[in-house]
Structures are given as structure tokens and as C-alpha cells.
């Protein structure tokens, strides 16, 4: 589990996050939802330590993260897997080398052991045998899946996904959502997903934080989200034609 405690973050004189506190639960898919520009990516980058918070603290299973030294942070970082909005695969490496990279960097395993792990991860994301492809030869959905495989290769306790299904068709997006949800439950990870896709919200939203203009506006889950009597949240949820009609 991860605890965000009173996090604030500004860039220059522009305040992006205001006093956000949230409890991300273990073994569940925790969602951060909100409009484009509401601060989801900034919040996630604060949580993983890519940005330093101005105020507040982040605890990983009780270990205060923000105040740790560089070396100790590094140790927690090896327990973190992250899927970036664009995949962020290393483009001069093959699929196999990408997934093997964290293993080569942080373990002393032999090539055979590492390859076994790589193949296991590839199988987990339904990409068996695609080891030799370069990132430029992959489709958008495949990139996300390889990125997931890389994120889970060191068997992380915490998995972060920034818009895992942006730019994908609804079916492929659904497959990615399922994949994330399965991995989370199989390995009992603390998973945090940024999304503005209502399908994901209703499918895998076990614990939801709704961010509006940098503030935590509402919390709940995929069931309560439909019944919430919060105007801003409702505008967000029922923005599409389809959801409007369903309502």
C-alpha cells in the first residue's frame, strides 16, 4: 500500500496539486481519474519520486519515501514498475533486451535465468516469441504490452500505469485493462492507474480518486461512482454520448 499525505506541488507560481491525501490499497487496482490537465501525471510522478513534492509525504508500506537518501530511494525504486504514457521503451534495444534490462542492471542472474524470466513476462502479456522485434516494429498496443512486461520483470510490489490505454481502440484497451487487473491480483501488487477512460473506470476501478484542478474532489469505487451526487464528477463521467444515454 502507498499513502499520499497532504501532497502539494507547484511549478513556478502555478500550483498543480493542492493538499492531496489518499490511501492506495494493496492487491487492488487504484485509479486516479480526472480531466486532461487536472494533474494526474504530475501526481503519479510525485508518487514515484520523479518530481519532488513541495509539501507532504509519501509512504511505501510505512516507509517514508520523500525523506529518504538517494541510496535508500534506489532500493524502493527497484520495487516499483512503471508504465509510461508513451511506453518509453528503449528504442535501440529489442523487445527481449528491453525486458531484460532491469534484470541485467540489478540481478546477478545468468543469461538463461534472465531469458526464462523474460519469456515468462512476455507470455503474461500474450507476446510469446516476439523477443527479436525492435520497438519501431511494434503497434501501439504491443508497445504498451511490452512496457508492462518490462515493468513487471523485477516482480515489483508497486505498479504505476500512466494512461495505459490512451490511443488504443476500445477492444485492445479492454485487453490491457484486464491484463493490469490480473497481474495486480495474481501478484498482490499495489497498482495505481491514471485514466480518463470511463470504460476502465467501470471495469477495474476498485478504489478511485477523482482529481479536479489539482484537488482531490471525490473518492469511491466503480459502483459508487455511478451514484455519486457530485456535479463535477457527474459531468466527467457522463460526458460521452454513450454514458449519457445509459443514464
Amino acid at each position: 500500500m502507498i499513502d499520499a499525505k497532504n501532497i502539494s506541488k507547484s511549478f513556478g507560481d502555478q500550483q498543480i496539486l493542492r493538499n492531496i491525501s489518499f490511501h492506495f490499497e494493496e492487491g487492488k487496482t487504484n485509479l486516479i481519474i480526472g480531466q486532461s490537465g487536472s494533474g494526474k501525471t504530475v501526481l503519479m510522478k510525485c508518487l514515484v519520486g520523479l518530481y519532488d513534492v513541495d509539501e507532504g509525504d509519501i509512504e511505501y508500506d510505512g516507509r517514508s519515501y520523500s525523506k529518504l537518501s538517494f541510496k535508500k530511494k534506489k532500493k524502493i525504486r527497484q520495487e516499483i514498475g512503471m508504465l509510461f504514457q508513451g511506453g518509453a521503451l528503449f528504442d535501440y534495444m529489442t523487445v527481449e533486451e528491453n525486458i531484460m534490462f532491469p534484470l541485467s542492471m540489478f540481478t546477478r542472474e545468468s543469461y538463461e535465468e534472465k531469458l526464462k524470466r523474460v519469456n515468462f513476462c512476455l507470455e503474461r502479456v500474450n507476446l510469446e516469441g516476439q523477443n527479436a522485434l525492435m520497438p519501431s516494429e511494434l503497434s501501439g498496443g504491443m508497445i504498451k504490452r511490452v512496457a508492462i512486461a518490462r515493468a513487471i520483470s523485477l516482480n515489483p510490489k508497486y505498479l504505476f500505469c500512466d494512461e495505459p490505454n490512451s490511443g488504443l481502440d476500445p477492444q485492445t484497451a479492454g485487453v490491457i485493462d484486464e491484463l493490469i487487473s490480473e497481474i495486480t491480483h495474481d501478484f498482490n501488487m499495489t497498482t495505481i492507474v491514471n485514466t480518463h477512460d470511463m470504460n476502465s473506470v467501470l471495469k477495474i476501478g476498485e478504489n478511485i480518486a477523482f482529481i479536479n484542478q489539482g484537488e482531490l474532489w471525490w473518492t469511491g469505487n466503480k459502483i459508487s461512482v455511478l451514484k455519486a451526487d457530485n456535479t463535477v464528477l457527474n459531468d466527467f463521467i457522463f460526458a460521452t454520448e454513450l454514458t449519457k444515454r445509459l443514464k
Binding site: K45, M82, G86
Partner: protein, 232 residues
């Protein structure tokens, strides 16, 4: 900046990365260095030969002057400027692309010291390989001069060869190599910094790559003056 020179996270990965950089920054530049050096040597020899119209100056001076110019200035400085264009823009755009596509963030998240992982092997590769390129360039420059002299009948082969051997001071080569090493360091760190510190989109990658070349060229010219004052 200090992060760049920490001990690498993992020796084996560093070695692998270093090999890649030798290829990218060094071996790939051999062709352009060869062409430029040969022509450069030829032109220097021809110009010197035309300028000597006093019968009291022996024609061996052509070889001598060509050697001095090539070793002291043309090989180290001009080749470094060429490399600033070729290697500098490559480094800035490679690292800049990694920045905008969040690959650097991805390294950071894994707990990899990204500055060290990306820049240190490049610094080492350039500092080792650029002097090799420059020595190669010196030989080709002299060969180019020789070729020009005999094919245009300006100086006899024997005179040219006597010329390039006369009053040779090994210190000049040492001076040239010191310059080259400093320039190599400047090229890599300046252009890597330009790429690394981008925030924004792919347009900024182009800007960073231009800035990398321009700033490293300016610093090369500047340090050329400083080092020449100090060393000669």
C-alpha cells in the same frame, strides 16, 4: 553534472554500453575524418608551395610547413570541430529524444542513475577514440599533402619527405592530443547536457541538437586559444 561521474551501477552493463559508443561515436566517424584530412593536407601543401616563390627558401619547407600546420592545428582543431557537428548533434538528439519520450524517466524509475548510464560511456569513448582519430588524421593529412605535391609537380617526393622529417618535436603531437582530449570532453558533455535538460516536445530535440553543435564549437575555439597559450 556530478552524477555523471559516479561509479557505474553495474560494470558489465557499462562495458557493453562503452562498446556501443565506440562504434557510434568513433568507428562511424572514420570515413569522414579520412576524407577531410586527406583534402586538408593537400590544400595546405599546395598553398604553401604557391607562396614560396623566393629561390632562397628550399622546397623542403613545403613538407615542413604542412606537417606543422596539420599536427598543431588542422588535425586536432578542425577534426574536433567536424566531430562536434557529427557527434555532438547525434548525442544531443539521442539523449533529447530519450528525454521527451520518457525513456530517461523510465531509467530513473528503475533506480538507474540515468546521467551516469547515458553520458559516462560517451565521455570515455570520445576521450579515448578522438585522439586515435586525430592521429589517423595527421597521417592522412601528410599523405594528402604528399599526393598533391607529386601529382601537381609542385615539390619532389624526396624534398617533401625530407621536409616533413626536419626539426620534428614530439611535443607538438603531445600538445595536439591534449587539445583533442579536452575538445572531446567538451563536445560530449555540452551536447549531452543540451539533450538531457530538454523539457517539452520533439521540436525541442532539434533545438537542443543545434545548440549542442553551436556551443561545443564555440567552446572548442575558446579552449583552443587558452590551451595554446598554456601549452606552447
Amino acid at each position: 553534472m556530478l552524477q555523471v561521474f559516479r561509479k557505474p551501477d553495474k560494470g558489465k552493463m557499462f562495458g557493453k554500453q562503452l562498446m556501443v559508443e565506440f562504434q557510434n561515436l568513433g568507428v562511424d566517424s572514420i570515413g569522414i575524418v579520412a576524407v577531410i584530412s586527406t583534402f586538408m593536407g593537400a590544400v595546405v601543401a599546395i598553398q604553401t608551395a604557391y607562396n614560396i616563390d623566393n629561390p632562397f627558401i628550399p622546397m623542403t619547407m613545403v613538407g615542413f610547413t604542412t606537417r606543422q600546420s596539420v599536427i598543431l592545428e588542422f588535425a586536432p582543431t578542425v577534426i574536433s570541430l567536424i566531430l562536434a557537428g557529427k557527434v555532438g548533434s547525434r548525442i544531443a538528439s539521442e539523449i533529447g529524444t530519450m528525454r521527451v519520450t520518457e525513456q530517461i524517466d523510465a531509467l530513473q524509475i528503475m533506480g538507474v542513475n540515468s546521467a551516469n548510464f547515458l553520458v559516462f560511456p560517451k565521455v570515455i569513448a570520445a576521450v579515448i577514440f578522438n585522439p586515435i582519430l586525430v592521429i589517423f588524421s595527421m597521417f592522412l593529412g601528410l599523405a594528402g599533402g604528399w599526393l598533391a605535391c607529386i601529382s601537381f609537380g609542385l615539390v619532389s617526393s624526396a624534398d617533401y619527405i625530407i621536409g616533413i622529417q626536419s626539426w620534428f618535436e614530439p611535443y607538438t603531437v603531445f600538445y595536439a592530443l591534449i587539445k583533442t582530449i579536452v575538445f572531446a570532453y567538451l563536445i560530449v558533455t555540452i551536447s549531452a547536457y543540451q539533450g538531457y535538460s530538454i523539457s517539452g516536445g520533439s521540436l525541442d530535440v532539434g533545438n537542443a541538437s543545434t545548440k549542442g553543435v553551436v556551443y561545443s564549437s564555440i567552446f572548442i575555439i575558446l579552449f583552443n586559444l587558452i590551451l595554446t597559450q598554456l601549452l606552447l
